[in-house]
Amino acid sequence: MTNDLKNISMRDVFWNKVYELARKDSNIVVVSADMGAPALDKFRKDLGSQFVNVGIAEQNAVLLSAGLALERKKVFVYAIAPFITLRCYEQTRVNLAGMNLAVTLVGVGAGFGYDDSGPTHHALEDLSIMRILPNLTVNNITDSQMAAAFADISYRMKSPNYVRLAREALPNVYQEGDDFSKGLTVLKEGKDICIVATGNMVHRALEVAEDLKKYNVTAKVIDLYTFPINEKMFLEAIEDAQKIVTIEEHTLPGGMGGAVAEVLADNQKFIPLKRIGLDLRKGYCYKYGGRESIRSLLGLDKDSIVKAILDLKQ
């Protein structure tokens, strides 16, 4: 693993990769619900017949994609994360999941990505609701390398898939050629605490692990990106864990920590578990001032997480 800090938006990396694939395969169609990206401008210009903009109409976007997929098109549908998951949930449930159609929903703005836009644009429930659908896989992307890999993986998938992208550019944790087939990656070894993080919070988990060293606490860090969880790989990864802390920029009910709790319970692994995420008892966040300001209010800043872990240790 490297921690090369090149800031490339995962959205552009993803769409650049889809563009490359679509140049070779005219069966690829991108359906956009009035969403753009510099990489998509190029797609629209060069491959206009494979690009469909439906306007602000996510229900129709998913329905069209189902019809296209039934006719053997390889479809990518693109919108802001809460809109492509919540607004058209039933269209996805009945058609993409129910008929097991190879459509990739691409949502941008995981968590508080659209921090300045307020709660309408925050994606805080999408992992909960998408991971419970039959046949559908959720891939929560950590960095640009992973985004490029999942453009390719999505293209080859024979079932529906939700790719959850961050809006912001994040440092690269992975390198080209890394294997994502296990659905999770152990990024750091440590024996005192096992931190499981997903998406943008993987970067926070790595910072927290570094900080914990000051307190003589070594932390294992697992990046969990594919849902449903690959149970065999997950159980192997947490085999020696004394305590587990999950960190996500997502609601606690049904989120990644909830998915971890399900796997632990189903496998009679009685390991103490602390879930850190958005506590719904505090409600939606109508506060502004930037991403880190919001995270501090909700206990997702580095210091609060370090403190929560140290409290757990005692």
Binding site: Q50, Q59, N60, L64, A66, L68, L70, E71
Partner: protein, 277 residues
């Protein structure tokens, strides 16, 4: 009356009997919603409109028929069985543990294109199929049958605008305008009229017909494969829910019920009297 029309009428009556039998036996199924569109679907399958091959249900060049109002599935199942897509005996297993289908439409039944039951979905899927055919420069036509109550769903109008903007003239929508939802007449719930003007405003060519007249259905579809217009076509078929059996007709309370016992016997008698008229 021409022989062709007479044969279609006989087929419609036979299919109504089949629907009634399968639903009465199973004790469930939307008989009323099926009876309103019998002539429409019979015209498509037996009137030389749709291209299909029961021995090869996924034949690539088939025309697509997307039943968006999935509650009329008993009707489509009875027709597909009659045409030989699957053994007719399956109709006796409607909603049974060893059967392959029940009240709403299921995509894995031979001859069926999509799963349908939640309304406002099939139309958009049909548009996606029509778009794919345009992209591939393929010739199949895509037909879809909507319920009028289904047109309350906002997604219908998202798709309607999209289809005309993208000139999907290979897409033909038929609205089963039976004037009833589950609880009341549409004009009492939230008025749908003027229905044709709504479609026209979305860029469609709209035709109003009597949906129980084979002559009018076939006339509306005259030359449908070689239409010059780039507009998609909607046929608003005025129908009667429960058509064929008087006590079922225009009766909101029968929406999701199947006649049983003596009621089923009376309904059968009425259908058979009509055939003998």
């Amino acid at each position: 009356m021409s022989d062709r029309i007479e044969k279609l009428k006989q087929k419609a009556n036979y299919i109504r009997n089949q629907v009634l039998d399968m639903c009465a036996k199973a004790g469930t199924g939307h008989v009323n919603s099926s009876f309103s569109c019998v002539e429409i679907i019979v015209a498509l399958y037996y009137g030389g409109i749709l291209r299909f091959d029961p021995r090869n249900p996924k034949w690539r060049d088939r025309d697509r028929f997307v039943l968006s109002k999935g509650q009329s599935s008993p009707l489509l199942y009875a027709i597909l069985a009659d045409l030989g897509f699957f053994p007719e005996d399956e109709l006796n297993r409607f909603n049974q543990a060893d059967g392959i289908f029940a009240v709403h439409l299921q995509h894995d039944v031979p001859g069926v294109e999509i799963t349908s039951g939640s309304l406002g979905h099939g139309f958009g899927i049909a548009a996606g199929m029509a778009l794919a055919a345009k992209m591939n420069r393929d010739l199949p036509m895509v037909f879809t049958l909507l319920g009028d109550g289904e047109c309350y769903e906002g997604s219908i109008w998202e798709t309607a605008m999209f289809a005309s903007h993208n000139r999907l003239n290979n897409l033909i929508a038929i609205v089963d305008r039976n004037h009833l939802c589950a609880t009341d007449f549409t004009e009492n719930i939230v008025a749908l009229e003027p229905m044709d003007e709504k479609w026209q405003a979305c860029g469609w060519r709209a035709i109003n017909i009597n949906g129980h007249s084979f002559e009018e259905i076939l006339a509306a579809l005259e030359g449908f494969r070689s239409r010059k217009s780039t507009q998609p076509l909607v046929i608003i078929a005025d129908t009667r829910k429960g058509k064929g059996v008087e006590f079922l007709s225009d009766a909101p309370l029968w929406h999701s019920l199947a006649p049983k016992g003596q009621e089923a016997i009376e309904a059968k008698e009425e259908l058979n009297e009509k055939e003998n008229d």
